[in-house]
């Protein structure tokens, strides 16, 4: 991972983004920006378009209008997921999308194997991943399909880190996990950010995610309706009423 530190420039700029599935448009003219080294969270209700936003950035959903730019110059819209990950934009997707009949080690190595820039730093990144999630080192020879939900989440994050991302998109990492594992995953995200990797997090666990975020966006019906620092949004009465049941 080769992030260049906080505040060094733009890591991600999304302008007028429209995306959807078939005849349905999910995102309507979404604008957002993320600076290098930031941890930015996207919150919103089910169906607000959070996952679609990450999928559009990483090329899994075609962009219908607007632009997505990474690191100031690299235009991502229209590129395949494989080319986007070559631009050092990693994605920990919804559902983890692991290779169930490969071992934990093979899953991790696959994150670097097809990317020349990542192969060079594979040993260093593997060491970081095993330090972050020692459980993965213990489970290295085990098939990914036999892991628990928490271990799968760790592996999905680990595999994305092996691609040596400067920008990491993380979709609902706490979904379905026990509270202790949620704390592990959130601590890992902070550590990843501390290494200089910019993180864009989509999360339903609003309180915990806003606490660790520099900034956050609130998405409703495919549009950005609010933005601000994590602390400010935690104190926002509308956010508290809508997402924190307060």
């Amino acid at each position: 991972m080769s992030g260049s530190g906080r505040g060094a420039g733009s890591a991600l700029r999304v302008e007028g983004l429209r995306a959807g599935y078939g005849k349905i448009t999910v995102l309507w003219d979404v604008d957002l920006h993320v600076d290098e080294g930031e941890l930015v969270t996207i919150i919103g209700a089910n169906g607000a378009g959070k996952t679609t936003l990450l999928r559009a950035i990483s090329g899994l959903v075609p962009v219908r209008a607007g632009s997505v730019t990474a690191f100031g110059a690299r235009r991502l819209a229209g590129l395949s997921p494989a080319r986007i990950v070559r631009s050092q934009v990693g994605h920990v997707p919804e559902g983890r999308q692991l290779f169930p009949l490969m071992t934990v080690r093979e899953n991790l190595e696959s994150g670097a194997e097809y990317l020349p820039h990542a192969r060079a730093s594979a040993a260093r990144n593997r060491e970081f991943v095993y330090g972050l999630f020692p459980r993965l080192a213990e489970r290295a020879p085990q098939l990914a399909g036999t892991l628990s939900g928490g271990e799968r989440q760790m592996l999905a994050i680990g595999r994305a880190l092996m691609s040596d991302p400067k920008l990491l998109l993380v979709d609902e990492p706490s979904l379905g996990l026990a509270p202790a594992l949620v704390r592990t995953v959130f601590a890992a995200l902070q550590e990843i950010r501390a290494r200089g990797v910019t993180v864009v997090l989509v999360e339903q666990n609003v309180q915990q995610s806003l606490r660790i975020s520099d900034r956050a966006y609130v998405l409703e019906n495919g549009e950005v309706v609010k933005a601000g620092s994590g602390a400010a949004l935690l104190g926002d009465p509308e956010v508290r009423a809508a997402y924190l049941s307060m």
Binding site: V85, Q97, M102
Partner: protein
């Protein structure tokens, strides 16, 4: 039933299983990696047979040499068919995919009929076709033995490729999770293309061998398509070792009936599919 023929039947069955396994792993590759049910698979086998035949009659090429020409030719033909047809139906309903591949198969078959006619064609004049070995009471022809050795070598090479090489890992990754494969930097459509070309190549190499073993007609492909499907279903998808085992089972059973039962040669195909039916019924009961 003459039990003294059993050793001969077993050996003939084992030798025939190599070709079944070769054609079946190619089909399993297309189904497993791309998710396409390819009814044209046997026609790649037929094209391989007739290309080898043509190379033999036009240039006197030995079939062993033809393997080196037919293999890349079939990979190119498979690749062109993938790019011009298959890739457009990858997200279509399975029925549409099946109809498309069935149509591709019919076109290939009819092209072969136009070019070579409907008569059986054979590469009969190779010197080793008449060579055989006598081991105890069992006779082993050089051609079936050679076909078995080459088939086993190709299946082993595919197994090794899938297990040990970056290309094999890429194909396994795409087969197991297409979304995940894209996110680790694999151009999924390129992997599909390679897998389909490789699938056609394997079938085509099997075809070269059948042109020496039998006297195929342009309709030889359909029977092999159906048999390969049956073997893949029996073995389970993505299971090369299972395909080898299933090929052995059906080829030996087929051979035993054809060799030992009076008039059994006519029952060859019936035995083949009867075994498949029985296994499927047994499996569905286990699931229920």
């Amino acid at each position: 039933m003459d039990l003294s023929l059993l050793p001969q039947a077993l050996v003939s069955g084992v030798l025939a299983s190599g070709l079944y396994a070769l054609v079946s792993v190619g089909l399993a590759l297309a189904i497993g990696v791309i998710g396409i049910v390819n009814f044209a698979h046997g026609e790649f086998f037929m094209v391989g047979a007739f290309l080898a035949y043509q190379l033999f009659v036009s240039f006197g090429f030995d079939p062993l040499l033809s393997l080196l020409i037919v293999a890349p030719a079939l990979a190119v033909i498979g690749g062109v068919i993938y790019l011009s047809t298959i890739r457009f139906v990858l997200k279509a309903p399975e029925l549409n995919q099946m109809l498309l591949t069935f149509g591709v198969g019919i076109i290939l078959q009819n092209l072969a009929l136009v070019i070579w006619g409907g008569d059986p064609r054979s590469i009969a004049n190779v010197p080793y076709r008449s060579i055989g070995y006598q081991l105890g009471g069992v006779s082993v022809g050089m051609v079936p033995l050679g076909s078995f050795v080459i088939s086993v070598a190709l299946v082993a090479a595919l197994y090794w490729t899938l297990a040990r090489t970056p290309l094999g890992r890429a194909m396994r990754a795409v087969a197991q999770n297409r979304v995940g494969a894209g996110l680790v930097g694999l151009e999924v459509n390129r992997v599909y293309l390679v897998a389909f070309a490789l699938s056609a190549l394997l079938a085509g190499m099997g075809g070269v061998m059948i042109a020496v073993i039998q006297s195929p007609t342009p309709t030889v492909g359909l029977a092999f398509t159906l048999k390969a499907f049956a073997i893949v279903v029996l073995a389970g998808l993505g299971n090369v070792r299972g395909i080898v085992g299933a090929s052995l089972l059906v080829a030996v059973a087929e051979s035993i009936v054809a060799t030992m039962v009076p008039g059994g040669d006519a029952l060859r195909n019936a035995v083949f599919f009867a075994i498949i039916f029985l296994v499927l019924i047994w499996r569905s009961r286990k699931v229920a």
